[in-house]
């Protein structure tokens, strides 16, 4: 039976019995979970900058080589606290190809995103793209994004920000464990925020860590986050709850102990995908290039619809029907209503739109086996071979 006939979207049985989701989802095994929470229940210390949160902050400080690592309940709130600490108001340059939350974090500090297009080759912001915006607009700060285990032009942006006397801060949600020219992510810009959401390689269930070398910014963020663990008291315009609980810290500490294993596993599966998909025309595996080390936590494909003979969104639907719950990257950014309605003005953003229209994210998670990867590669190969037939059959269904 040909692949086109057996596809689930055309009535066949799904390739995977249970949904296979994107996001890393590394988590302790049950016995380990039980043990760590038994300890918490015995200690009866549940939150308020408890011993595990303090240990996590100490370990992250060491690991990232950064002076201050401030753990928070999620990355979004970390970005908001960062924006408030920097006092950003007015225009902030941010990439149009980004998660909606990155851009929306600005709304909470009375700033407005001035959307910048991304580089066609990398999908990320560069100093060359930002520079004209700094000449044409009054800009308070640059908020850059390091997506997908890769890094944008951090040194170029840093130099540009310094020349203009404005802060650069970074949303490095996917960046734990990555390094740029040997320097760990977490050390760049005035503030760098890394996500500890379970979708990322270092998961706390949910969480974030705000990194900075500045004592002043750290004091501001700690004093805003909570009265516990605030260190030196400084005046802040308003406080906002950003505490991480002991439950979150316990999971993150476990995952931190296992990071090397996760990274190697990701790299191995990533390598399998890369090799297996190399000969499938119309699908390009996006390989992290701006980094000296990557966590390989995101498997991103760029779809060439002409060559593949299928629309990206049809491929996405086909995969989802197979219980392979692929994502579409930052789609529909910059067209997301929560971005479009709020950005300073609509601009020509062809490369951002290019990426949003072409991205497919494949699952790369704890449950995924090498056999699963092989099956996904075979599926994609079959889809590519039969692109025309599948397209016609899907069209008939519509």
């Amino acid at each position: 039976m040909s692949a086109s006939v057996s596809l689930a979207i055309l009535g066949g049985a799904p390739l995977f019995e249970r949904p296979v989701e994107i996001g890393q989802r590394y988590f302790p095994a049950w016995a380990e979970y039980e043990g760590m929470f038994r300890d918490i229940f015995e200690r009866q210390y549940y939150t308020n900058h408890g011993p595990l949160t303090q240990e996590l902050e100490r370990r992250l400080t060491e690991r990232l080589g950064v002076k201050h690592a401030i753990c928070v309940t999620n990355e979004f709130i970390g970005l908001v606290l960062a924006g408030q600490a920097l006092g950003v108001r007015g225009n902030v340059v941010a990439p149009a190809h980004a998660f909606v939350g990155t851009v929306q974090s600005l709304a909470w500090t009375d700033a407005r995103p001035l959307l910048c297009d991304v580089d066609r080759e990398t999908g990320m912001m560069t100093a060359d793209l930002v520079s004209p915006l700094l000449s044409s607009h009054a800009v308070a700060a640059i908020l850059a994004v390091n997506p997908w285990g890769d890094a944008c032009d951090v040194s170029g942006l840093q130099a540009l920000a310094e020349r203009h006397g404005i802060p650069l801060y970074l949303d490095s949600s996917h960046g734990f464990g990555c390094a740029v020219a040997g320097e760990p992510m977490g050390t760049f810009g005035a503030i760098e925020v890394i996500s500890l959401h379970s979708d990322n390689v270092l998961g706390a269930g949910e969480g974030g860590v705000v990194c900075t070398q500045s004592d002043e910014l750290s004091a501001h963020i700690r004093n805003t986050r909570s009265s516990y663990g605030m260190g030196r008291a400084v005046s802040v315009s308003k406080t906002g709850n950003g505490r991480m609980s002991e439950a979150q810290a316990a999971v993150a500490l476990f995952n931190l102990d296992h990071y090397a294993e996760y990274q190697q596993r990701n790299a191995r599966l990533f390598g399998m995908f890369e090799a297996g998909l190399a000969n499938i025309s119309g699908l390009e595996v996006r390989v992290p290039t701006g980094v000296s080390q990557s966590n390989y936590q995101n498997l991103i494909l760029l779809v060439d619809e002409e060559v593949l003979g299928l629309r990206r969104d049809d491929l996405w639907k086909i995969l989802r029907a197979e219980n392979l719950l692929a994502g579409r990257g930052y789609y529909p950014s910059p067209g997301h209503p929560a971005i479009a309605s709020y950005a300073s003005k609509s601009r020509n953003l062809p490369n951002s739109e290019f990426y949003c229209a072409r991205t497919i994210e494949l699952p790369m998670n704890q449950a995924l086996t090498e056999l699963d990867v092989a099956r996904v590669i075979d599926l994609l190969a079959a889809i590519q071979c039969n692109g025309g037939t599948i397209r016609r059959k899907i069209a008939e269904l519509m």
Binding site: E21, R25, F27, W30, Y33, E34, F37, R38, F41, Q44, Y46, T47, N48, T73, N74, E75, F76, I77, V80, F99, V100, G101, Q104, S105, A107, W108, D110, H197, S198, G203, G205, E206, S235, V236, S237, K238, T239, G240, N241, R243, S245, E246, A247, Q248, V251, H336, P337, A338, S341, Y342, N365, Q366, A367
Partner: protein
């Protein structure tokens, strides 16, 4: 026998502390571990750790049922639930939130995050809370929202505030953090006003590690809050308002469910502590226990006393003595919010009653870590202060 017989026995003046570990005013209830594991197993099997997962959905439905409200939406904290609630409910084009000043120290900050301006009102001298009568003079053509707040013992008159809200067409949102178990005229707190919000912080009535929730009978508000807390995704319900990640974590939801299963037991223990305080404090002159209204259902969690005029020493010295003997008691909402310096504008008129009340009350140790025997010791300690007040005041004056 009194625990302290002379000034030198108090830890502030060199004596041995009454307790060898802290007795605080935080609840810190430890739910049943196996129940926590049972609820944890649900998200563990699904491999979903955050973001509208199965345990959070279960928690939301259980809490809605518990509060006899149609909907419940949980958040990473009560604070951000409140911010999003205000953002949703505030009348567009208006800027002020009428709220008490004698309340939680961060409450005005939440108003500022919602880009609104706190307009502080007086409180009722008996209930220590906002009422329709104290809120009414602050209502004007800029009022966007009335923020009712239950005090930490008993409830504010939500029905009176509802009538005020209806009269002016201004939405009412209620801070019910301290009234999870309470009823008002027999009706469970949770469905008054347009919405009520609660905390699941470990120090509160239900320990969910961290977290909070909003209850409402308004389905469109519930949908809007779900969209706002989840980066606007899933619907157009967020409108054009700023969105955020304010989602609950599954582990926290599992903890909160285990705590919810244990509520009756905790209330009984709280009641026993409260009754012990009531009995013991009857023989301490100069202190008045704020009594729970026994015609309603109560959680009996917080213990608040008023220092009457005959109390021999200042509240400040009383608190210093308690702290040094390892009783982490707190001045009741001091300083009031209108006295704090903030990075945002606030509005307040004459709040002399709030100023006076803010000097008179303090909270006493309560919660899971405090036994009935501890309560007796705390009261004995207070009795000793009452007996040796002059010596303590003189000794303190010498030290300073």
């Amino acid at each position: 026998m009194d625990v302290k017989t002379k000034a030198e026995d108090f830890a502030l003046f060199g004596g041995k502390p009454l307790f060898d570990s802290i007795r605080s005013t935080s609840n810190l209830v430890r739910p049943d571990f196996n129940k926590f594991l049972t609820y944890s197993r649900i998200f563990f099997e699904e491999g979903q750790y955050s973001g509208e997962g199965p345990v959070e959905r279960l928690l939301d439905s259980r809490l809605a049922e518990f509060h006899q409200a149609k909907h419940c939406v949980s958040f990473c904290s009560g604070f951000w639930g409140l911010v999003l609630g205000m953002e949703s409910l505030a009348l567009k084009g208006r800027t002020e939130v009428v709220m008490p000043s004698l309340t939680y120290r961060r409450l005005a900050d939440a108003v500022a995050w919602a880009r609104l301006t706190p307009h502080f009102c007086e409180v009722d001298p008996v209930g220590l809370c906002i009422t329709a009568a104290t809120a009414r003079p602050c209502i004007n053509d800029k009022t966007a929202l009335i923020l009712g707040v239950h005090p930490i013992v008993n409830c504010c008159d939500s029905e009176g505030l509802e009538a005020l809200s209806a009269e002016f067409g201004i939405p009412l949102l209620i801070d019910a953090v301290e009234s999870v178990y309470e009823t008002l005229n027999g009706r469970r707190v949770g469905s008054f006003g347009r919405a009520e919000f609660f905390s699941l912080h470990a120090s509160k009535f239900l320990n969910g590690f961290e977290g909070g929730y909003v209850t409402t009978n308004d389905q469109s508000l519930a949908e809007q809050l779900r969209a706002l807390r989840n980066n606007g995704s899933g619907s157009d319900a967020a409108g054009h308002m700023p969105v955020m990640n304010g989602k609950q974590v599954e582990i926290h939801a599992a903890m909160a469910l285990a705590a919810l299963d244990d509520v009756r037991n905790q209330v009984e223990l709280n009641r026993q502590r409260y009754y012990r305080y009531k009995t013991e404090l009857a023989s301490v002159p100069g202190l008045r226990l704020l009594e729970f209204d026994e015609s309603e259902q109560s959680g009996y969690k917080n213990i608040v006393v008023e220092l009457l005029d005959e109390w021999p020493i200042s509240r400040e010295l009383t608190l210093s003595l308690l702290h040094k003997d390892n009783m982490l008691c707190r001045a009741y909402y001091h300083p009031p919010l209108h006295k704090k310096s903030t990075g945002y504008a606030t509005i307040s008129g004459d709040l002399s009653r709030t100023d006076a009340l803010a000097l008179r009350f303090l909270t006493l140790p309560c919660g899971f870590f405090v036994s009935e025997k501890d309560v007796a010791q705390v009261c004995s300690f207070l009795r000793a202060i009452s007996s040796h007040g002059a010596a303590l005041a003189e000794r303190a004056a010498r030290v300073s």
